[in-house]
């Protein structure tokens, strides 16, 4: 009985380190093969459209409602010590430094890393990856690298748009529900923002983009055979990229935090 426990824990650890090792090798392969020609630029533009452009509505809507809710909450909290006037700047700072990148990252992780895992996983189980190899096309170069580049490029742009819309959401709620004057709300927003806020937002977004691309492709690439394998790969892609985004967000905040 105890022995079996040990065995199971052992297997768990082994599998964990095996996966991590596998992932490291995968990333190393991407980095080494991606930067030597041929380059599949058209694939990058296709993916930019798929990952970036089509995610705009989702990211925008999320940001708008979050910005609005944030304004209400901060107003409520601020009124407890007569500080309702902080609403514009706290909404902006909270949105840009934290919620914009995290929520944007999570939304895109749900959409995009799942789609990548499903697409590449299906290509694997239907031998399309094999077919690529026999047509002298490296699947990592042709499929994986463009997707990762596209998500690294898309995420900061999406987050920037999301941040702006989030602030607008706050503004909308502030003006319609909390009796703020729209000019002074905007002035207040801008006054306390620093370049560092934007920088930390973009750094986070870039790293989240990398996580989304890598986890989506990795799980698709190593999905097991059959439809069930692809289903599992899709779930694993979403779960692992979401957790990695939240965990790395903490460490990035710690790193970018200046007391």
């Amino acid at each position: 009985m105890i022995l079996r426990w040990f065995f199971q824990i052992g297997t768990l650890f082994f599998n964990f380190f095996f996966s991590v090792g596998n992932l490291v090798v995968f990333i190393a392969k991407i980095l080494t093969s991606g930067f030597i020609p041929p380059f599949y630029l058209k694939e990058v533009t296709t993916q930019l459209y798929k990952i970036g452009y089509t995610s705009l509505p989702v990211v925008g809507l999320t940001a708008f409602f979050t910005g609005g809710a944030l304004a209400l909450q901060i107003f409520e909290g601020g009124s407890r010590f007569n500080a309702e006037s902080v609403v514009p700047s706290i909404v902006a700072i909270g949105m840009i430094r934290e919620l914009g990148p995290v929520l944007g990252g999570l939304m895109v992780a749900g959409r995009v890393s799942a789609a990548m895992a499903a697409e590449i996983g299906t290509m694997k189980v239907t031998e399309q990856l094999d077919a690529l190899t026999t047509l002298s096309t490296d699947p990592i170069k042709y499929l994986v690298f463009p997707r990762i580049i596209a998500s690294i490029v898309s995420l900061p742009i999406l987050v920037l748009v999301g941040n702006t819309i989030g602030v607008m959401g706050g503004l909308f709620v502030g003006v319609t529900r909390l009796n703020f004057n729209s000019n002074s709300y905007l002035l207040n927003t801008i006054e306390y923002l620093t370049f560092d806020d934007f920088l930390s937002s973009l750094i986070k977004a870039t790293i989240f983009g990398f996580i989304i691309g890598v986890m989506g492709c990795y799980n698709g690439f190593f999905s097991n055979r059959g439809a069930e394998g692809v289903g599992r790969a899709t779930t694993a892609a979403v779960v692992s990229s979401s957790i990695l985004i939240l965990a790395s967000n903490y460490f990035l905040t710690e790193l970018l935090f200046k007391p």
């Binding site: 599949y40 239907t126 399309q128 077919a131």
Partner: protein
Amino acid sequence: MINPILQTTGLSKRFITNEIFEGIDISINDGKSLAIIGGSGQGKSVLLKCIVGLIKPDSGEIFYEGSLLRGKHKQKFMNSFGIVFQGAALFDSLPIWENISFKFKYSKSHSAKERRQLAAEKLDLVGLPRSSLDLYPSELSGGMQKRVGIARAIATKPKNLFFDEPTAGLDPIMANTISTLIREVIQELGSTAITISHDLNSIRKIADDVALLHKGRIEWNGPIKAFEKSTNTNIKEFISPDST
């Protein structure tokens, strides 16, 4: 002419504890056509993938044109063949004409117009209407996909051709057409071919030699004439399943 042009020695493969085959020695002479037969799940597809370098065998060697497949030589081999997979393996995201001419998609040698023309010619060859050029693989039937797969494999006029069950799932008339097509292509290109098949009529048409994969070994191999007269029980069963 280098003979044998393709040869395996002691090829073995297992998936974790599931032993697929062991000690496979196959050789095929330049310009010849070999059929590999064997029951379902005996490892024929895995064997073919080992030969073309898609699956790494656990042990054993593969020789092409007399030298071991590795490095530059392997690169040369990888560029020398066309392969039709068991499930056709067409690229879902590309229309038929881009599927067929994929090998030239990113090379400067062919313009888009030339690639389309090439695809149209190959479609004629496999007996599909040119109106399918702009369709996507999901819009074709299984048999049509197979034919597109063949068109893609022969688009580069390869020196070596590999077919994994090219006639499986086709009606007898289409199966016969495809077999004839394969034979013609092999003859016209002077290619060396390995075909995995369950289809006796097709084998009679295509193959010069036959190898039987059974329980992880090559149980029998020899010329097609000897195959038909063989007293091996598995072969007799294969040729006329009811007589045993």
